[in-house]
């Protein structure tokens, strides 16, 4: 079976398991809604506040919600040692990384899109076509978090304090991508797209590609006992 075929088989398996259990999406959605609700009561939102604290609120809730999901991304493999069965299958084990990364990417993007109407509601944001570039920011921002997050989730999978280690390892690494995501979201919300947005999207794209390639090379060492 081809490398991509194996990755897609793992992705389908993860999506099917998540569809049944909702073990990852449910806590992520509730966490994001809770954060938006708390911010809604803490600040006088709307107008300038939307551009000043909106992007930060949005992305900090995504990052912490993603930690909940990333932490669980290898839990299914750990439960019955199913990761061994994946590793026993012939072929490059980078396919396991790619399948898992795509799964994390899909889950992150799904909650970002799901939470956008609630963000608009709580932050008095009028929805319109000017928000379309936000889709590119979400796609690239999610790709960055998923590419780095999957590697560090695999790395912390064998650690005793994995719940503690994952954020400690991941958060400093995704800081550049996070800053670009926040900046780019701020520009979109202020309806100031065009040339100012492009460097941020470029940065996110390069980060995602570099981390994906690096992770594909390092994954077999990351999952080693």
């Amino acid at each position: 079976m081809s490398f991509l075929g194996r990755a897609l088989a793992i992705l389908r398996k993860d999506l099917k398991a998540e569809w049944r259990t909702k073990a990852r999406l449910s806590p992520m959605v509730f966490f994001i809604l809770l954060m938006l609700l708390v911010f809604n009561f803490s600040f006088d939102l709307g107008g300038a506040a939307l551009r000043e604290i909106g992007p930060g609120t949005l992305w900090s809730s995504y990052v912490f919600a993603s930690l909940l999901s990333l932490g669980r991304s290898f839990a299914d493999e750990r439960d019955n040692n199913a990761l061994d069965a994946l590793l026993l299958a012939p072929g490059d084990c980078g396919a396991i990384y790619l399948g898992k990364m795509l799964g994390n990417f899909v889950f992150l993007l799904a909650i970002e899109l799901l939470s956008l109407p609630f963000f608009a509601l709580f932050f008095n944001l009028s929805l319109g076509f000017f928000l379309l570039p936000l889709l590119a920011v979400f796609v690239l921002g999610s790709a960055c978090m998923a590419s780095a997050g999957t590697l560090f989730a695999a790395l912390s999978n064998n650690m005793r304090l994995r719940e503690l280690m994952l954020p400690l390892l991941l958060l400093p690494m995704i800081l550049p991508a996070l800053i670009s995501s926040v900046e780019a979201t701020g520009l979109v919300l202020a309806n100031e797209c065009c040339e100012k947005l492009f460097p941020h999207l470029q940065m996110l794209g390069v980060y995602a590609v570099v981390f994906t390639v690096l992770s594909l090379m390092l994954f077999e060492y990351a999952i080693e006992e």
Partner: protein
């Protein structure tokens, strides 16, 4: 080493930090041989199986499967079927989905046919004594009993028709009929010339299924003997080691 050797360990050792799980060992298992690996808990049996399966790198020495290093040539892992302590299955998926998923990973062309054959081999498919088997196949593995999970785990291990079978306590949780099905399966594999390493503490179950005995103790090989037809030989040879302190 000859071309007829299925498994070759040359000075292979495994350390975890300061703990040596397996001291350097030289071991050659020719194609078609069925070896029984015996040892007390923590002796290093599972580590040896994991090394052979390519699931971990040796800290020293080398491991060759059919002349190739499973770490450097991942394709060689398709020749290995591993039954581990744990089921290596997904609780959230149904039995059928689990097996189809692994069939996909192995790139099997006719997964349904092979799936049926693997299930039949462990008494989980028509003509099966287990009632309503087809219905059970569509239920989540998480709802299965330990014995049913074990049958399914065996089906997963043999699904792709491996030439080398590594079985770690395969009789765990199995009822009498499933044990009989596993016996039939292992006899058939012997006749077909497949290589097998069987780890079990139930020596009575291994009788007639193996032709070599390996005993390891504290990560070191203590005994390596080809067996004769004498049915009591296994128990006599193992007694000093299994009765010793773990």
């Amino acid at each position: 080493m000859s071309g007829d050797d299925a498994i070759v360990l040359a000075g292979a050792a495994k350390r975890f930090g300061t703990h040596t799980a397996l001291h350097p060992i030289d071991l050659v298992i020719p194609r078609g041989q069925a070896a029984l690996l015996v040892g007390a808990n923590g002796a290093g049996k599972s580590t040896l199986l994991r090394l052979v399966a390519g699931l971990c790198r040796p800290s020293a020495g080398s491991v060759k499967i059919n002349g190739r290093d499973p770490q450097r040539t991942p394709e060689v892992r398709a020749e290995i079927g591993l039954l581990s302590h744990q089921t290596l299955l997904y609780d959230e998926l149904t039995a059928r989905e689990n097996l189809r998923f692994f069939a996909q990973l192995y790139g099997l062309d006719n997964p349904d046919e092979l799936l049926a054959a693997a299930l039949a081999a462990v008494g989980l498919c028509f003509p099966s004594p287990v009632l309503a088997t087809h219905e059970r196949l569509n239920q989540r593995v998480g709802s299965f009993s330990r014995g049913m999970k074990q049958r399914l785990a065996i089906a997963r291990a043999i699904l792709h028709g491996p030439s080398i079978l590594l079985l770690d306590e395969p009789f765990t949780g199995l009822d009498t009929s499933a044990c009989a099905a596993l016996h039939r399966l292992l006899r058939r594999f012997r006749q077909e010339g497949r290589t097998c390493i069987l780890v079990t503490h139930r020596l009575d179950e291994a009788e007639g299924l193996v032709d070599r005995l390996l005993v390891i103790e504290r990560g070191q090989r203590r005994l390596d003997q080809v067996l004769t037809e004498d049915s009591n030989q296994l128990r006599t040879l193992c007694a000093p080691y299994l009765d010793a302190n773990p």
